[in-house]
């Protein structure tokens, strides 16, 4: 019996919750009872009673005696802390404002970035089946020109026939739809004639994606060939109503047809990768029948939905079999002909999850974006917040002298250091909360501009607002605690005996704040330099001589389709506009600038080459003012010219020709002839964006082989631009009243190539502005404190004959030094970052020392202006004022 011991588990439990000083007395009594019970009641009952009795000690009277662990915040003092915080803010209004405003901007920025990232992440998640949907992609070995580091081409455009084949032959594929967005067509309902973008899809589309059906029977959508499903916006546009079932629209897709409106479906939200206005069947796509038979044309994005719990490995195996079955012969021939190394798969299909396509960097898609942008934005927000925090710390520290006395008094009446730390932390959290409120208001003010910069439509629902407040509060607490931490420790360390004795000088300790100011200024300098470089690059890109004259040119599509009619329309317009005095010339081309390109590959002398090709007319070179290097332009009445071509200098160089005008380019690999005769050479001009080098290109008038003139380039005479569009519209309505008149300005088209860079420059500019603003606020505050600290010194100096200028220089000198050190730190960092950015451009500016000098001058000037206010003020202060109390 003696060996029986009380249950230890419950003993240990009591030990954990019981104050240490009481535990021994309690557990001793309990054990004594246990051994008594053991003798009278037996082991089992004794143990049970021991458990129960021990458990009864879990009661507030015992637990609350652990008081050292419990009441962390001294609740009695909180009202006093609030009062003191309020008085301090009121006393130092300007510093409080600087602190709160800086933090507000930081918080506003952070919330905006949060919204941006949230929006990026939300892409395509709203479909019920989105986790089961995949995009089918090709991964093809580049036969022509395999680059050593990336020999594969990836594309979302695959064969038209693949979609149906997948659904039929792969058991795990439940649904499949093709999606060709962005096909232009002329749509008409009576008088209302516009160009619209059609999306060509399959009926499975409606089963896979969760776009809500507003009218019509979704099971019957596009079950017949000439049917169309509209979004409400389009229904309103053509019918002024959404009650449109059974009505018809005339749609011109290589010939006009009546399409029955069978349904209305919600417009895709902004965070959808699939964007459309009108949905029609794949079967009406131009050349559908030809495409669906061909396994050599890659032009159709395809989405599949797998069955529940599908085995993706098995699906991939099925895809490999399909490659063998439909493309095996061609691929085997290619492998042989181009002697592709052993072990390389010439062609594969791969699947990408539908939710991942928005942030896919391998294959670009409408609206797809690079996750690195979100990271850059997040980094900028973090920098701004950091600068604001540094403001808080350095201002608190420099203003600490005034509060040393308060600390001394508090300590001598019994405040413990922990309490003081709590107090100061509490104060900064209060300030941070104020900033949060201002920050959220600022965010609402910035939102429209931010939407414009980022090309997004961020908006609010209840959940988002809750999240915004949650983040705001979280940021406020974190920022408040972090930035209050050091000042709290620093301030609470003051020794009351020293402080209250009176010998304490109220001079700021600049030792620690200086590195903070340098860091802050370095961050701002980094942003300044980056912005200046971005600005210069954009300036360079938009004003660079492209080799042709893009000003005053209106681009008008002929709207005639891919045929001879289109060329005739250009001719008609030219004849008609010859009578008008505001037009100086009309040219036709297959594709204007920033509308895409055609590129042909050909084999000459056993070497694979390729060139860009544009169909033009003889007026093209004239209207665009392109310089000829050699030879002649096409002849206006030159019937023979249809097989002749004009090449650019890059092509001459590529072919290594000495006398290009005596050469032929056999780009059609025609064994019966020499190929196209070169009649002229144009000087290189930038037919693509400046992100690329000028590659071989030729111009041709060959309608059958190269193409028809789909675009009219109408050159307006100087000074006539304001009314030109109206006049052109009038002429258009006269010539082709049944076609819509669309137009763009060529210089704007060209500028649009750089829209995303332009946007990034705006964001950087905005961020720089805020960073400078916040740093300046901080610097201003610091300079103010410094000036006050040295008021008496300045007074004495003036008495001894110092000039205003001396004092000005004396006060400003240190800040200039700090700013210069900051620039020295920031320059290499920004040089590195900007070099990476400039790598996107084939034609970039050189980052040279003037850029840094300009940025530095700018930064110094701003810093100087900021601190000068105080310097001038104290320099002009009469010594009698400052010294009379001594």
């Amino acid at each position: 019996m003696k060996d029986v011991r009380p249950p230890q588990r419950i003993t240990r439990f009591l030990e954990n919750i019981c104050p240490e000083y009481l535990f021994e007395g309690i557990i001793g009594d309990l054990e004594e009872q246990f051994y008594d019970d053991l003798e009278t009641l037996g082991e089992k009952k004794a143990k049970r009673r021991y458990w129960w009795n021990t458990l009864r000690f879990v009661r507030p009277e015992i637990l609350l005696r652990n008081n050292s662990n419990f009441s962390i915040i001294n609740t009695i003092m909180i009202s006093n802390y609030i009062k003191t915080a309020g008085r301090n803010m009121a006393k130092r209004k300007m510093f409080s404002f600087i602190n709160a405003f800086g933090l507000s901007i930081g918080i506003a920025f952070c919330i905006l970035i949060f919204l941006y990232i949230k929006d990026e992440k939300s892409f395509d998640k709203f479909h019920a089946n989105s986790h089961k949907i995949y995009r089918v992609e090709e991964k093809a070995y580049d036969f022509w020109d395999p680059e050593p580091d990336k020999p594969y081409n990836y594309s979302a455009y695959i064969q038209t026939g693949l979609g149906p084949v997948l659904k039929e032959e792969v058991p795990q594929v439940q649904f499949a739809t093709r999606f060709n967005g962005g096909g232009n067509a002329i749509v008409a309902n009576g008088e209302k004639v516009f160009t619209e973008q059609l999306a060509y899809i399959d009926p499975d589309f409606f089963k896979m994606f969760s776009f809500e059906t507003l009218a019509g029977n979704v099971d019957q959508f596009l079950s017949e060939k000439y049917q169309v499903v509209l979004t409400p916006k389009i229904a309103e546009k053509y019918f002024d109503s959404q009650d449109v079932l059974g009505k018809t629209l005339k749609i011109d897709i290589q010939g006009e047809n009546e399409f029955a409106v069978v349904g209305i479906i919600t417009s895709p939200p902004a965070n959808s990768s699939l964007q459309f206005d009108m949905l029609v069947s794949q079967t009406v796509r131009p050349y559908y029948d030809k495409n669906v038979e061909s396994w050599q044309n890659f032009n159709t994005p395809t989405f599949i939905q797998l069955v529940d719990n599908a085995d993706v490995v098995a699906v991939n195996e099925s895809l490999a079999k399909i490659v063998d079955k439909y493309m095996g012969d061609v691929l085997a021939r290619n492998v042989k002909e181009y002697s592709i190394p052993e072990g390389i798969k010439p062609f594969e299909y791969q699947l990408t999850g539908f939710q991942d396509i928005h942030l896919d960097t391998q294959i670009t898609w409408t609206k797809s974006s690079d996750p690195k942008y979100a990271m850059i934005l997040g980094g900028i927000a973090f920098l701004i917040l950091l600068i604001a925090c540094i403001n808080y710390i350095s201002l608190s520290l420099t203003a600490s002298a005034a509060r040393q006395t308060e600390v001394g008094v508090r300590k001598s009446v019994g405040a413990q250091r922990g309490q003081l730390i709590n107090q100061f932390a509490f104060e900064s959290v209060i300030l941070a909360f104020l900033s949060m409120v201002i920050g959220i208001i600022l965010m609402f003010i910035f939102l429209p501009a931010f939407n414009e910069f980022t090309n997004k439509e961020l908006s609010f629902d209840a959940i988002t607002i809750m999240q915004v407040f949650g983040i705001g509060i979280g940021l406020a607490v974190v920022v408040g605690l972090i930035s209050g931490f050091y000042p709290a420790f620093y301030l609470s360390a003051a020794k009351p005996s020293q402080v209250l004795k009176g010998g304490f000088t109220t001079k700021m300790k600049a030792g620690f704040t200086k590195p903070l100011v340098v860091l802050q200024f370095a961050l701002s300098a980094f942003l300044i330099i980056s912005s200046v470089i971005m600005y210069q690059q954009m300036e360079y890109v938009t004003t660079k001589d492209l080799g042709y004259d893009q000003e005053q040119v209106v681009v008008v599509p002929t709207q005639m389709g891919w045929n001879e009619e289109s060329n005739k329309a250009v001719e008609r317009m030219r004849t008609r506009l010859a009578q008008e005095s505001f037009v100086s010339g009309v040219a036709g081309t297959s594709l204007s600038f920033n509308q895409g390109y055609s590129r042909y590959g050909y084999e000459i002398d056993n070497e694979y080459r390729s060139a860009y090709v544009f169909a033009v007319d003889p007026q093209y070179i004239e209207v665009l003012d392109i310089e000829m290097a050699e030879g002649r332009n096409f002849l206006t009445d030159g019937v023979n010219d249809s097989t002749d071509i004009i090449v650019n200098e890059a092509l001459v160089a590529d072919m290594g020709w000495e006398n290009p005008l005596e050469e032929h380019l056999n780009w059609r690999e025609d064994s019966a002839s020499l190929g196209s005769k070169i009649v002229g050479v144009v000087k290189d001009y930038h037919f693509l964006s400046l992100e690329r080098t000028i590659e071989p290109m030729f111009l041709s008038m060959d309608k059958e082989q190269v193409g028809y003139l789909q675009q009219m380039l109408i050159k307006i005479k100087p000074g006539e631009l304001p009314n030109a569009v109206d006049k052109l519209q009038a002429v258009w309505n006269e010539l082709s009243p049944d076609k819509p008149f669309d137009y763009t300005f060529m210089d704007e088209d060209i500028a649009r190539q750089y829209a995303s860079y332009e946007r990034w420059m705006s964001i950087m500019g905005l961020a720089t502005l805020f960073a400078i603003l916040i740093s300046c606020l901080g610097l201003f505050g610091l300079a103010g404190i410094n000036a006050i600290n040295r008021t008496k010194e300045m007074g004495i100096r003036k008495v001894f004959g110092a000039e205003v200028m001396n004092i000005f220089v004396l006060l400003n000198r240190q800040y200039i030094w700090l700013a210069m050190i900051a620039f020295v730190i920031a320059s290499p960092l920004s040089w590195y970052a900007m070099n990476m950015w400039l790598e996107d451009f084939e034609y970039g500016i050189e980052i040279s020392w003037p850029i840094f000098a300009i940025s530095m001058g700018l930064g110094l000037l701003i810093a100087l202006v900021t601190v000068s206010y105080h310097a001038v003020k104290s320099a002009y202060l009469s010594p009698a004022e400052t010294l009379k109390y001594e």
Binding site: E24, G25, I26, D29, E31, R56, E61
Partner: protein
Amino acid sequence: MNKTYLGEFEELMLTMVGILKEEAYGNAIVKEVQDQLDRSLNLSAVHVTLYRLEDKGLVKSFMGGATQERGGRRKRYFELTSAGISVLQSLQEQRLKLWKMLPELKMAGI
């Protein structure tokens, strides 16, 4: 000096500490009350009340020497402070004073 009011249980504990003198610790009180009054007490209630009395300054506690019989644990002994003694005395006086004002009961009792 402020008057100290005690609850019934607190009064009982205070009395028991007085009665048990040098042997007043938690479990001893439980046993003594069981023996004398045939009333079974929970140990935790006893302890908590004793601590409360200590907070009020009516008893004070100290740890005794190591023992053999209870796992080597020391006992927490309690003893009356002078304030505790005077509270007990004044309670007794109040009780007597009021008792004398109950003539009928006294008669019936006899």
